[in-house]
């Protein structure tokens, strides 16, 4: 069974009296260990889709068109607020286009805060784990720096480290290279690839850039609020 099943997802924003349908029946299945790229034009609803998958937002409920997100057999619709908070803390990690680091915290604190929020058995070993991930990202000497003292690429690597510190089963990346030049963007994608080689991390990455999408195992297109075509490539043997 796929790790994530998205079925017939509807999301409509209401601007005054006008309904703006963004997702109109998007469906997607992601296997454990898969790296899926969602390709779509700007405004096609890519971020909206990720937010829904990550439990930050809720899809429309239309009794005539049943829809849902199922993660590891659990229906997000059935989760109460507290379960959704826990789902975000344990099972998913977010990476954003604009890094979204907390400016007052140092690099290491920005990573550790995710484990502090999660509070769990892994909290003890979190500092060591954070140092290890940051070391792998080449940031070992920057642990005490503030985000403002880092370059964009470095910040994004800190953001990825924060998303991974709790060892989530699903990484949701929203145009992680969208704000970086091609070279830096490629470096970020290389780093991600290295991690996947080791952990077979499941990743859903949205982007409007086909060349970035091409680094994924599988690319899907988001058009008209639907996942219209899937350019499937065979899963790399692990």
């Amino acid at each position: 069974m796929p790790l994530l099943i998205v079925e017939n997802l509807q999301k409509t924003y209401r601007l005054g009296r006008v309904d703006v349908p963004v997702l109109r029946g998007a469906s997607l299945a992601v296997e454990e260990g898969e790296f899926v790229a969602v390709l779509g034009a700007s405004g096609s609803g890519k971020s909206t889709l990720l937010h829904l998958i990550g439990g930050l937002d809720t899809p429309d409920r239309d009794p005539e068109r049943p829809s849902g997100i199922t993660f590891d057999g659990r229906d997000l619709k059935a989760m109460v607020t507290r379960d959704l908070d826990r789902y975000r803390a344990r099972d998913v990690g977010f990476v954003f286009q604009f890094y979204h680091l907390l400016p007052e915290l140092t690099v290491i604190q920005n990573v550790l805060i995710a484990s502090m929020v999660r509070r769990g058995p892994g909290a003890r070993s979190a500092p060591a784990r954070a140092a290890e991930i940051l070391d792998a990202f080449g940031l070992a000497s920057r642990l005490g720096h503030r985000p403002a003292q880092l370059s964009g690429g470095e910040r994004q690597r800190v953001a990825i480290a924060r998303a991974l510190i709790n060892e989530p089963r699903l990484l949701l990346a929203d145009e992680p290279t969208g704000n970086l030049d091609r070279k830096t963007g490629n470096a970020i994608l290389d780093a991600l690839a290295r991690i996947r080689e080791r952990t077979r991390q499941t990743v859903i990455m949205v982007t409007h850039d086909p060349s970035v999408a091409a680094r994924a195992d599988r690319v899907v297109n988001l058009e008209d609020g639907r996942v219209v075509s899937e350019h499937s490539r065979p899963l790399r043997d692990s």
Binding site: S47, H51, G54, L56, D57, T81, R82, D85, R86, Y87, R88, A89, R90, G93, F94, F96, H100, L101, L102, P103, E104, L105, Q109, I113, A114, M116, V117, R118, R162
Partner: protein, 517 residues
Amino acid sequence: MYQTLLTRKYLTSKIMPLLASVAIVLCTAMVLITWSVMGGFLKSLVASGRTMIGDVAITFPNVGFPHYQDLVRRLQADPMVEAACPMIESYGLIHLPDGRNELVVVKGVEGDSYNRVTEFHKTLYWRPLTEPVPKDEFGDDWRLRQHSLWAGRLADGMALREMDTQRAQEVPAAVFGIEVAGFNIREVWGGYTPGVVRVPQSDGTLKDQTVLMFESTITLNLLAMDPTGRSVETSTRQVPVANEFQSGLYDIDKQTILVDLGLVQQMLNMDEAERIVAGSAPDTHGVVVDPATGRESFEPARETTVDPARVTSVLVRGKGKQEDPRPLAERCREIYRDFAAAHTGVPPPENIRIATWEDQNRTLISAVKKETGLVLFIFSFISLTAVILVLAIFWSMVSEKTKDIGVLRSIGASRSGVAMVWICYGLAIGLIGSIAGGALAYAIVWNINPIHDWMGQQLGLVIWDPRVYYFVTIPSEVETDKAVIVVLGGVVSSVLGALIPAARAAMLSPVKALRFE
């Protein structure tokens, strides 16, 4: 906890909320200083109110009650009672050296026993001083010089007797409240200087003359009554003034004179006296004619009784500090009941008024209490500005940090967890502000007198004028429980101010927060 981490970081990196903290410092300090000073003022008032009346007064006004010596004995035998003394309280008209008449409250007391109950010797003003009073920097106090002038004044005042040099015998004397005669001038440093009056001379000129009350003799008029309360006659005596007292309560210092009890009893016909029992004497007016010799002689009345001396009050001082004098009052009532049962001609216990010092000073004390309460209320109300300030600053900080809140939600923070960030922060701001405010208040109140003096010298600003407040020094004690209440109040206010912004942060939709520009 990520909340404490963020609070610590915000505290060290944000200036604005520290301004809120400063507001809390000022508000807590303001409230605590006011409360301490006004509370201290109230305490001084209560203390000086007690100096003149003891803890409990047993009173039957006007006519008074006999056998008071037995009542005093019974009271002093009780383990709750430290001392008891008789007193007559009446109104009198005094004629002053400059010709004015003043209506005064006359308290007839025995110096010794009255002193045991009220320690009134401490209030006697004219006495030799070796050290100037705290505010008298230039040594203007008369009592520092001419010690010979004050020699014996203290003893005379305590005894309520004075040596009449012409008659070479001790005579009963009076001790005046220091403001009664109105000659003494109250100085800024809190003491008195004898005043100067223009006295018309025989040749028609006016001559300046310093009035020393304790050198003067006044005319005292009292209205005597018979045991049924009917006015009998006005009795008038010349009474020398032995000293003056300063109780610290303006009303008492302005209205009261102490006079030797024996003298007052005599003047009011309340002393022990032999009385012919009505109808027992022959209608010969006491003159009998010896039928044999025809010589007239006096015959004693056949039946006489001794009317015992009376007083209107017995004052009682309890053992120990007597924070709450009511149990003592209760005990006094029981003792009076036994006393009344043992004697005839004593007013029944139901008619006797037994009042604690609190009862007697109720109006003044409750006025100051109400005033303190009112001022505290107003200041606490003003302190709401600090709450509003915290609210406003936190509100704008929540706006500024909207994206961070979205990030926290995206990594799994709950709504309440995000709210706790702000409450935690408010708590920290409140703790810092209130503790600093409390410390500031301590520092100011402890040094309030030097600070006040300095303000007086440098800025010409005298807020606490001893001529108005009646105490030379400003109360300078911070009570711990008050400090704790005020500091807690500051913390609570700050948290209250943070509450609404915290709720707002919790209500933010994480998606909108993340999309926030």
